[in-house]
């Protein structure tokens, strides 16, 4: 018989209290399943990206720099040691952004899956948080893989190098949360992608003290670093991994900026999701 049983008991089994508590996890579960369809792609990016950077910039450029500055090093250490926390944070930012921006636009505009999620007991805030948690998961995965590749290339000569893992993840999710809020607000994504790639991601990568200390930049360009999660995370990463000298008040400021970005991003994103779904 091809008739579906409509009184089998899920009316009793439907559990709004459970959804209220765990809704974001259900969304994350669904998002993770979708992400896993790209497993090999994500793995390839996560491994190839650091491998290429370490060979070209780390070994090529690094070798040249180390030879010229001699034992003084950059910031007192080998170039690769200096560079590692920044590269790690950059990878975290990229993957967190991929996993917040695209699914958010897809959910609101391309396939409108958020609307069908919202026709269940799930709330806009839970959907927003679920997307974010999936991005967090991917960021952790990417950063750990990146770290392993660095280790493989012998790019880690500080015993505390692993401390750059949490700072990188921190940078990634802070930026990801903000970008998720921006993406949720978008009506026209085409212009956004052009702006994001050329005028946000690229300058952030180049002007955040990634390849050289921010202070070597003329002062009027340093503001880019100040608003960049990449710079704050990199400074923290350098401080933790090899003892890069910063004052304790700066340590606090770096933390505060990243936390503020994260909290503001999560709050705004939840609000914008809720509003847009209720339109």
């Amino acid at each position: 018989m091809s008739i579906v049983n409509i009184r089998q008991g899920s009316t009793r089994l439907v559990d709004t209290k459970k959804v209220h508590l765990r809704g974001a996890l259900y969304v994350a579960e669904a998002r993770t399943r979708a992400m896993m369809k790209w497993f090999w792609m994500i793995l390839a990016i996560a491994v190839a990206n650091p491998a290429l950077y370490l060979i070209s910039v780390g070994i090529g450029l690094g070798g040249l720099i180390d030879k010229n500055v001699g034992s003084a090093g950059i910031d007192g250490v080998k170039y690769l040691t200096f560079l590692a926390p920044a590269l790690l944070a950059q990878a975290a930012i990229q993957s967190a952004m991929d996993e917040t921006v695209y699914p958010t636009i897809e959910g609101f505009k391309w396939y409108k899956v958020f609307y069908s999620m919202n026709s269940t007991p799930l709330s806009g805030g839970q959907i927003s948080l679920g997307v974010f948690l999936t991005a967090l998961f991917r960021t952790v995965y990417t950063v750990i893989l990146y770290f392993l590749v660095m280790w493989f290339f012998g790019a880690l000569d500080s015993p505390r190098a692993w401390l750059a893992i949490p700072t990188a993840i921190f940078a990634g999710v802070s930026f990801g949360a903000l970008m998720q809020a921006v993406a949720a607000k978008l009506e026209n994504e085409n212009i956004f992608f052009v702006v994001l790639g050329r005028f946000i991601m690229m300058p952030l990568f180049l002007f955040s003290g990634t390849f050289f200390p921010l202070t070597s930049m003329p002062f009027f360009l340093q503001w880019i670093g100040w608003i960049s999660p990449l710079w704050h995370a990199t400074e923290l990463g350098r401080y933790l991994t090899y003892g890069h000298e910063i004052s304790s008040s700066m340590v606090l400021i770096h933390f505060a900026v990243l936390i503020t970005m994260l909290v503001a991003g999560l709050y705004l994103s939840a609000r914008i999701f809720t509003k847009r779904l209720a339109k």
Partner: protein
């Protein structure tokens, strides 16, 4: 709980200055199949989103399953099955995965959902496509999957927004058959459509909407009886002559409607009327006698056709 699953009074929704739903009243009884018929932009989908407890009203009252959606959104949504106008399936996931994740959104136990999926695949005739990615399915299959998805929680009310728009005739008939079976089982259906044949096939009772207002309410048969004649004679004289003969035709029957390409003549007996036209030495290029439909009701009420 009262006999009404949904009860709305003075329901109003505005988007800026635009009034999408203009103070409408309606009730939906348990087990009935209730339709909202009207052209695009009539306010049907907006009304559906308010019933679906996702969009909030600006004025008036509404209770769904005895609760106010403003205060109990998630509790109401827990017992609704929603089939939106656009399928909004997760294209990257398979058929089974789509059903599974949706069941989880209701807090249903994994084991229960897994059993339920088998039943739903049979219902939607998608057994062979169970592990196919959704993006590879045809339009009709996607639509059936969306309906199956809405049934995963065994909802009290199944809401369908334009269920067959964009489907070919065969796919529509398969879908109507599935919906008819649900109706037979006593599922309460709320359907919006701009197809009069769909409304006639599926709805026990319907409201005719236009520009945010309810124009009429009743069963398809009673609406036709109240607002139209038994038969309609459609005649075409060619676009140049239609205007010319219109005055003569008007005096020959109860009422006429002049459309750009043809003239509709409302009468109890179409064949006899046609004979009279020939007797008056008017020779239409084509003629057709048919029974009145909801399309005629809508034309009478608004002066416009449903699909423009």
């Amino acid at each position: 709980m009262s006999e009404f699953l949904i009860s709305a009074r003075g329901l109003t929704k505005k988007f800026g200055d635009f009034v999408a739903v203009n103070g409408i009243d309606f009730d939906v009884r348990k087990g009935e199949s209730f339709g909202l018929l009207g052209p695009n932009g009539a306010g049907k989908s907006t009304t559906m989103r308010i019933i679906g407890a996702t969009s909030q009203r600006d004025a008036g009252t509404i209770t769904i399953l005895g609760k106010d959606p403003e205060k109990h959104g998630p509790q109401i949504r827990a017992h609704l099955g929603v089939v939106p106008q656009q399928d909004s399936l997760d294209m990257q996931l398979t058929v089974v995965e789509n059903l599974y994740i949706y069941g989880r959104y209701f807090g249903l136990p994994r084991k229960f959902v897994k059993g339920k999926i088998e039943e739903l695949l049979t219902f939607a005739q998608l057994e062979e496509k169970r592990d196919a990615k959704v993006e590879t399915l045809s339009g009709g299959m996607k639509r059936r999957l969306t309906i199956a998805r809405a049934l995963v929680s065994e909802p009290e009310i199944l809401m369908l927004d334009e269920p067959t728009t964009g489907l070919d005739p065969q796919a529509r008939h398969i879908l109507w058959d599935r919906l008819f079976r649900l109706k037979e089982q006593g599922v309460t259906l709320v359907i919006t459509t701009h197809f009069m044949d769909e409304a006639e096939q599926l709805c026990d009772r319907l409201i005719v909407m236009d520009k945010g207002n309810i124009m009429a309410e009743g069963s398809p048969a009673s609406l036709i009886k109240d607002y139209s004649t038994k038969e309609v004679l459609e005649v075409r004289f060619g676009s140049d002559r239609n205007q010319e003969v219109a005055d003569k035709l008007r005096s020959m029957c109860e009422r006429t409607e002049e459309l750009p390409d043809r003239i509709l003549m409302y009468t109890e007996d179409g064949e006899t009327l046609l004979e009279q036209i020939y007797a008056a030495d008017l020779h239409p290029k084509t003629s057709l006698v048919r029974r009145s439909s909801l399309e005629d009701v809508f034309l009478r009420l608004t002066g416009r056709t449903l699909i423009e």
